[in-house]
């Protein structure tokens, strides 16, 4: 029994008012499906059914795209930037006002710790709307090119790791630039998107500007391949990203793809070591490692490898794994059975390949989907756990001797989303940043996001950027663009 045992500190669920079933949010109203079926959204921490959700059919997608087109032509593209901005400001404020409700629902549906949904996902989603609200009437200042104007209808498909936040990343810039939206949340995490639909109603956003259709892969495919969609924005797996790239090939549809990653977090011998350890922990155990830019490969300089591993293990022993709604939980539930199976499989491969597996002692709940924070040492670039995206709380530790070797190993992957550098030497940070083939490079920090800061990958981590001026550019045509 620990000396200082933290008593359970669960966040109350009472703030969330869930319906037993949800329709599709099309043209400003919740509507029944036309020929679609239903599926259940469960809490990954308890496997309890939270609500029944509609699996949209192709006909539903048609209706949603048509509603978005109407809204684009009749209202949204005719509004001034100032007025578009005001709607986005309203949405930002409502998200702030209803923050607790969103945080609790996100943790329920996704399994992430309430501390993260409360302190990261929801406030940042609001910030995303706030930032883009300000751009709506300033597009001509953004150096996007001559005469920036919207594409029209944007089809957006988002993943389950940051359901509300990814929605904000997609919808805020699309609306700010004058597009209308058909968005599909992931099938395991649709609930905050449906609550967001209510926010659109509260904000009196004109009907059809935002349409939310729930469903799985087929629904997503129907959206991205729909002839009425002018631009596609997708965040998810590299495999699906490649399918999308193929399906729009030869058409005039534009795409932004934010895909997988296998980021290197590089620790030099002169690193601020306590903060580096925090950065390693944050890099791979934040959000159960369900982060495309997770620092899943730790590259540590050989001269300090042992010390860093020791400190890391001591730190991991203090991680609190369990009930996502407990305010002291650091690591929550794995989002789905399928994802748990995938993690389990790759971890077994890692062991079979000869890497050394370690996890801190911690009790896991009986129900739900759980995986202990796991560290593999003695990993080589040749191991599958150093190559494949695990998308779970699993860290592979590799070593290096020189900056060149660190760069070579960090870049030795088809992915290129992010990287981390830990050293007290400024010039080395900037040299390393130049060499790394990654869209985001964090120095002496990790997993930092901001609406003003562009995010996106090199190579098979996708193309296009989200956030900042650059993210805005993805949602406008300029000059002689058709």
């Amino acid at each position: 029994m620990p000396t200082f045992e933290y008593a359970p500190a669960p966040e109350s669920r009472s703030v969330v008012d869930l319906a037993s079933s949800y329709g599709l949010f099309i043209d400003g109203e919740f509507r029944d499906s036309d020929g679609g079926s239903v599926f259940k959204s469960i809490s990954p921490a308890t496997e309890e059914v939270l609500a029944e959700v509609t699996e949209a059919s192709a006909a539903d997608v048609d209706r949603a795209v048509a509603a978005a087109r109407r809204a684009y032509e009749r209202t949204w593209s005719r509004l001034s930037g100032t007025d578009r901005g005001k709607y986005l400001f309203r949405i930002a404020r409502i998200l702030q006002e209803r923050s607790r409700e969103f945080a609790v629902l996100e943790s329920l549906d996704n399994g992430k710790p309430i501390r993260e949904s409360r302190d990261v996902d929801v406030p940042m989603a609001a910030a995303w709307f706030f930032y883009h609200a300000g751009w709506a009437d300033k597009l001509e200042f953004a150096s996007l090119g001559e005469n920036p104007r919207p594409h029209g209808v944007v089809g957006q498909v988002i993943p389950w790791n940051f359901p509300l936040l990814m929605l904000a990343w997609k919808i805020a810039p699309a609306l700010a630039t004058g597009n209308t939206v058909v968005l599909k949340p992931a099938e395991t995490t649709p609930l905050t998107a449906l609550l967001f639909a209510e926010v659109c109603q509260q904000a009196e956003l004109p009907p059809g500007v935002v349409n939310i259709v729930t469903g799985a892969g087929a629904t997503g495919q129907a959206i991205v391949e729909h002839g009425g969609v002018d631009k596609v924005a997708f965040t998810g797996s590299t495999a699906v990203g490649k399918q999308i790239a193929r399906s729009i090939a030869g058409t005039r549809t534009k795409a932004t793809l934010e895909l997988g990653g296998k980021a290197a977090n590089i620790v030099f011998d002169d690193a601020p070591v306590d903060q580096a350890v925090e950065g390693i922990v944050n890099g791979i155990f934040f959000n159960q490692g369900h982060v495309c830019c997770a620092g899943s490969r730790l590259l540590v300089q050989e001269s300090v490898a042992e010390e860093v591993e020791e400190r890391l293990k001591r730190r991991l022993a203090t991680l609190r794994v369990g009930d996502p709604l407990d305010k002291n939980t650091d690591v929550g539930a794995i989002n789905s059975r399928a994802q748990l199976d995938r993690i389990t499989e790759l971890v077994e491969v890692g062991e079979a390949e000869g890497a050394t597996r370690w996890s801190p002692e911690c009790e896991l709940p009986a129900n739900g989907f759980w995986f202990r924070p796991t560290v593999f040492t003695g990993v080589s670039q040749t191991h599958r756990i150093a190559q494949e995206e695990i998308f779970g709380p699993v860290l592979s530790v590799l070593t290096f001797r020189t900056p060149q070797e660190a760069v070579a190993k960090a870049n030795n992957t088809p992915y290129g989303l992010s990287a981390g550098i830990w050293t007290d030497k400024g010039s080395r940070i900037l040299w390393m940043a130049d060499q790394l083939r990654a869209g985001v490079v964090w120095a002496n920090t990790f997993n930092k996001f901001d609406p003003t800061s562009p995010f996106g990958g090199y190579k098979e981590s996708g193309y296009g950027r989200e956030g900042g001026r650059h993210g805005l550019g993805a949602y406008v045509r300029t000059g002689a663009d058709g």
Binding site: T82, Y131, A133, W135, D137, A142, P403, R428, L430, T452
Partner: protein
């Protein structure tokens, strides 16, 4: 029998508080247009009030300049929200101060609220528009970014009592500067109400300080004050007994950044504040800082 009103005392706004003028003076303010009627005894601010205001603005500077751009944006947006809730009062006061129709006053107040929103949106964007990476010929990381210039004194427009005032103040403070503002001499009432809105929004005390009084009396003290970093002379147009050239000459002593009034030659003209402004007011009170750092192993 009709009720006898409780009338309001109009005071200065310095360091987040509402003091009377240390001079103990006030001056009569009347409505514009037809039927000139008494509106208020406005506090007649003195050079010492201006001095106190500069001190308050200087004290508030580190906190405000050091706040995140996101935070400043939220604060400016909050001002718009609070003004919206006092819309009726602003409309009535603008109508009285400027002698315009109710419809015109409505439009003016709407534009003033929207101006705060417009600048709120700029808080976390102007650095991206005005700054950037410089591709120098060598192994250096080299970046230029705008920073606030410091304490800015401003002569608010004499005619446009609210929209003009907001159009002058918002670009100063959105970038992290703090402001000492001389309100329109003849039309100070909307400015005082704006101060009340500022005091009940999230603007930290001292970030915006507002002095009512005689422009010709107080402006020279601000122009020559060595702890003021910049001065906006927009309100020199139509100000009684004010020469903007003399103020600019006084400002040269510590090389204050000077935003000259609109117009040509020595003539000063109050601009039309209705159109959406560009970036020139914001840029006027920014310094550009360039940082070099080597890149090497």
């Amino acid at each position: 029998m009709s009720r006898v009103d409780v009338r309001k005392t109009y005071k200065l706004f310095i360091g987040g508080k509402f003091p009377r003028s240390e001079s103990g003076r006030s001056y009569e303010v009347f409505s514009a247009g037809r039927g000139r009627r008494f509106l208020a005894n406005a506090a007649q601010g003195s050079r010492k009030d201006a001095r106190d205001a500069v001190r308050a603005a200087r004290a508030a500077l580190p906190g405000w300049a050091g706040a995140t751009a996101y935070n400043r944006g939220q604060v400016l947006y909050r001002v718009a929200e609070v003004m919206e809730s006092r819309r009726t009062q602003f409309v009535a006061e603008v109508q009285a101060a400027e002698g315009v129709t109710a419809a015109r006053a409505e439009a003016t107040v709407s534009a003033a609220i929207d101006r705060w929103v417009w600048y709120a949106g700029w808080s976390d964007k102007y650095a991206q528009v005005l700054g950037g990476l410089n591709p120098v010929a060598g192994p250096y990381f080299d970046i230029s970014a705008p920073e606030p210039t410091g304490v800015v004194a401003a002569l608010a427009p004499q005619r446009s009592s609210l929209l003009g005032l907001v159009s002058v103040v918002a670009p100063i403070v959105v970038a992290g500067n703090t402001a000492v503002v001389l309100a329109s001499e003849e039309r100070p009432v909307p400015a005082i109400t704006l101060a009340e809105a500022l005091a009940t929004s999230d603007v930290p005390g001292g970030v915006i300080n507002l002095i009512t009084g005689r422009t010709a009396e107080v402006a020279p003290w601000l122009a020559s004050h060595l702890d003021v970093n910049a001065i906006d002379l927009t309100g020199a147009a139509d100000a009684q007994d004010v020469s903007w050239g003399e103020l600019e000459a006084a400002a040269a002593e510590n090389l204050k950044r000077v935003l000259r009034p609109a117009g040509s030659d020595e003539q000063a003209v109050e601009p039309d504040f209705a159109p959406v402004p560009g970036l020139h007011r914001l840029e006027a009170f920014l310094e550009t800082k360039t940082v070099w750092h080597p890149k090497g192993r």
